[in-house]
């Protein structure tokens, strides 16, 4: 008897174009509907067909939102899956696949035969492979067949009754076979269903950002496709229709950011999305935003660089790029959400800060974050009160009035009697070119002053565990929130706690005291400890240890637990 309980790791692997993502989407949706907590993340190659991709789904009693290396059930849809995932396969992994297809490469592993080809023959079309596969998985897990069928009925309703029936037939075939396998192989799965979960929503990082942008009143996006930033452009193109969002596919990233600035200048609320390589091209526009004090919100989905790097993998290597992008000195703010709920919130916060302080604001995510999907109660989606900071102008309006807090009331053309000019040269209060040294200093200081207000409004880090009592703090930002949370739960000691930063610049002044008299470990997906260095610079804290990873994959829970244990032991912290 093989017993699995409370936390199942089910992985689907196959070549690009084999429907792995369709299976994931369907399986995750049905499991959530049945009341199971799910978390799924994916890794894939930069190609359209072939190669080897996988998606890892966790089904858990407690909500979890991190990647685990362990695989309990592996569905191998083609022969490359097993060698591709070799590192993650142990004697406890149960492999499912078409025996003739995968046996040659399976080595020592025991393969449970699933005759996909035969099912497809019986159903008359390979299109049903996905539904069969979901059926097998659900049968194996002992999920409710009724709910599965109801879901299929709804999901395929638009395609007509024939398609619905065919899918239900495929589902039943798969489900029965999964049940049979569980019995035959002595597999026993224990998972707790939670009615409340069934009512929750499922969001991936991209969707959460997109919904956040709509909540923020975003009505303009101009961008050039680049993975993994493209998803937001696609989301707003598809979902933004009912919200009158203008969608422009720009000729290049330079055009995108300059359009974004033009849109804000005219009173729109614009976002641009890209990845590091595309952002390189945008940096002139960041500097322009700094000078003309026109807001802009930029989403950067990070992937490993330099240059084209690993186009579909994950990294947190662009913090320094974003922090220092654009020539000259000017204020900015950077957010780095760690959960979909945080993404929904900080996207609105990004628009609010950009609008209020008239500065460039960044949302820094990564492939792992954007592609990870999880269930959450919809009431944790927190709204930021909507405010448009535009003013109606009088005839004597001056765009760059010198003020105490550095914020000059922002007018837009056609709203009021005034004229609104902006100028990339150094300028006077009326936005005209100047080379007067005194004016230069006054304007420069005015712009720089805005950071104080933005700093006062900086988001506090989330505390994981008992920060006050702890002797050691593990620090993370962005997508590593989930993995650090889970690792700390596993380590379960009073001595170690964590801090997660969803805003990485400017850092809140009052969070500095949380670091006092503690050993500090900073965990991040890059090779130089970019956030650790920022903490040193901003808070003057000493970093005891860095935990770094830059192979293109996210941290796994096991890896973080093991590394933390080692450090705690070595340092006798």
């Amino acid at each position: 008897m093989k017993r699995f309980s409370g936390d199942i790791s089910l992985v689907l692997g196959g070549a690009a174009g084999q429907g792995v993502q369709t299976v994931e989407a369907l399986l995750v949706a049905v499991l959530k509907r049945e009341g199971y907590n799910v978390f799924a993340c994916k890794e894939y190659m930069s190609r359209i067909r072939g190669g080897s991709n996988s998606t890892s789904i966790r089904i858990t009693d407690k909500k979890q939102s991190a990647f685990v290396k362990r695989i309990d059930f592996l569905f191998a849809m083609d022969r490359d899956v097993i060698p591709h995932l070799q590192e993650r396969i142990t004697e406890n992994t149960i492999l499912f696949g078409e025996r003739e297809k995968v046996c040659k490469v399976s080595g020592e592993c025991h393969i449970v035969n699933v005759p996909f080809a035969q099912f497809v023959r019986e159903l008359g079309n390979p299109i049903y492979t996905s539904t069969v596969t979901v059926g097998v998985a659900l049968g194996l897990l002992g999920a409710d067949e009724e709910i599965f069928e109801t879901y299929l009925r709804e999901h395929f309703a638009r395609k007509g009754e024939a398609v619905v029936q065919k899918n239900i037939e495929a589902a039943r075939k798969g489900y029965a076979f999964g049940k049979h396998l569980a019995y035959h192989e002595g597999i026993e799965v224990h998972l707790v269903k939670d009615k409340a979960v069934a009512d929750e929503i499922l969001l991936d990082g991209t969707e959460a950002l997109g919904l956040g942008a709509l909540a923020a009143g975003c009505n303009y996006i101009s961008s050039y496709p680049m993975s993994p930033g493209t998803g937001l452009l696609t989301f707003l193109a598809q979902q933004g229709k009912n919200f009158d969002v203008v969608v422009d596919q720009a000729e290049d990233e330079i055009a995108a950011i300059n359009q974004g600035l033009g849109a804000w200048y005219a009173g729109a609320r614009a976002i641009v999305t890209t990845s590091g390589g595309g952002f390189d091209l945008m940096t002139e526009g960041i500097s322009l935003s700094g000078m003309i004090e026109t807001p802009i919100v930029v989403h950067i989905g990070q992937r490993p660089g330099p240059a084209t790097g690993l186009p579909t993998r994950t990294e947190q290597g662009d913090l320094n790029l974003v922090l220092h992008s654009g020539h000259g000195e000017f204020p900015r703010a950077i957010f780095a959400p760690g959960t979909p709920a945080e993404a929904f919130f900080v996207t609105q916060q990004a628009f609010y800060i950009a609008d209020k302080y008239q500065m460039p604001v960044f949302i820094l995510t990564d492939q792992h974050f954007l592609d990870s999907v999880t269930n959450l109660p919809k009431n944790i989606l927190q709204n930021v009160k909507f405010k448009n900071h535009i003013v109606k102008t009088m005839a004597d309006y001056k765009r760059y009035t010198l003020t105490k807090d550095g914020i000059s009331p922002r007018g837009v053309p056609d709203y009021g009697e005034g004229l609104v000019g902006v100028d990339s040269d150094e300028h006077d209060e009326e936005a005209h070119i100047t080379e007067n040294a005194g004016t230069r200093v006054a304007m420069h200081e005015k712009r720089l002053r805005k950071i104080f207000g933005a700093c006062d409004e900086a988001l506090k880090p989330s505390e994981i565990g008992d920060v006050k009592k702890s002797k050691t703090l593990i620090i993370c930002w962005g997508s590593n929130f989930g993995v650090v949370q889970e690792a700390l739960r596993i380590l379960a000691g009073d001595d170690v706690a964590g801090l997660h930063f969803a805003q990485v610049y400017p850092l809140p002044k009052n969070a500095k005291k949380l670091f006092a008299k503690k050993k500090i470990i900073v965990l991040e997906n890059n090779s130089s400890g970019q956030f650790a260095n920022l903490l040193k610079l901003e808070y003057g804290v000493k970093i005891t240890k860095n935990i770094l990873k830059y192979d293109g994959a996210p941290f796994s829970v096991e890896e973080v637990v093991q590394k933390l244990k080692q450090i705690l032991l070595d340092e006798a912290l």
Binding site: I254, K378, E417
Partner: protein
């Protein structure tokens, strides 16, 4: 008709142009055209890049977005889409528009926003002191190509026509009376309108002088068919005799702002639709 004085800056304004520069008459052309079309300053936005030409919006009373070198067009598109009620003009030099901003030039024409693109074409980089521009003639001696320009000049009219521009004109800065009529027609035109303005640079371009332009240029005559594209292309390719006037115009192509928007209300008036958002969030169940 408005008094063109409403566009005048205070007398004390220090203009950074050289005495005798072709930019002065161009400034006048734009003011007169706007005044004669009754467009109040509050309704006009001029977008420019960087260069001597690109300083133009500082010298008349309108709204303006004086952005980066080569980037007059992207903000102009966005401003027109964000508020279609505005008259939007992108005004910059030949280097700015055809060189640094070349890619935007190509793709703005494809989009066809209802904006006017005025290019001060002095066939030289003025502000940076006399290097060759994309439209410099072959052989033009300059500080970098000391033996003269060795590459073919960029042909803005032919490129614009090839990309389907719906209004393509060339004027001469020395003839304000004719030029302002053509700029007016460009503003009235629904869609992207290119007005390439031949302009001497008295300091750095000793080859293409007032005299040279006078001798090289002629106006298309009254019988000229502005809707004949192949004839327009022939004219555009003729670099021996430079035609002036509206070389090509066609009506009816939808503009970018009507293609990307359901209505034309300014986006600054919009608020997030939180109710529709709640409905959308429900769909993720």
């Amino acid at each position: 008709m408005l008094d063109k004085k409403i566009y005048d800056m205070p007398k004390s304004t220090d203009l950074a142009w050289c005495p005798g520069c072709g930019n002065f008459p161009i400034l006048n052309i734009v003011k007169v055209a706007l005044a004669e079309l009754d467009i109040p300053p509050q309704n006009v936005v001029i977008c420019s890049g960087i260069g001597q030409a690109a300083k133009a919006p500082h010298y008349l009373r309108v709204n303006y977005f004086n952005g980066l070198h080569g980037r007059a067009l992207p903000p102009a598109i966005a401003i027109k889409v964000a508020n279609p009620r505005l008259t939007v003009i992108a005004e910059s030099g030949d280097g700015d528009t055809y060189g640094e901003g070349g890619n935007h030039f190509l793709h703005t024409i494809r989009r066809n926003p209802d904006i006017v693109n005025i290019v001060h074409n002095n066939m030289i980089y003025g502000l940076t002191k006399g290097q060759a521009s994309p439209t410099s003639e072959k052989g033009l001696k300059n500080p970098i190509q000391t033996e003269g320009v060795i590459v073919e000049p960029f042909n803005p009219l032919a490129v614009a026509l090839a990309l389907g521009a719906t209004f393509v004109a060339r004027v001469f800065s020395g003839d304000v009376t004719q030029a302002k009529e053509i700029v007016k027609a460009a503003i009235r035109h629904k869609g992207y309108a290119l007005v390439d303005i031949l302009q001497p640079c008295v300091v750095f371009n000793k080859q293409n002088t007032y005299q040279w332009f006078k001798e090289k240029t002629y106006y298309v005559d009254e019988n000229y068919d502005q809707t004949d594209k192949s004839q327009a292309l022939d004219i555009a390719f003729d670099l021996e005799r430079l035609a002036l006037g509206i070389i090509y115009q066609s009506e009816g192509r939808p503009t970018y702002e009507t293609l990307t928007r359901a209505g034309d209300a300014p986006l600054y008036k919009m608020k997030p639709d939180r109710k529709a958002l709640q409905n959308l969030i429900e769909k993720y169940k």
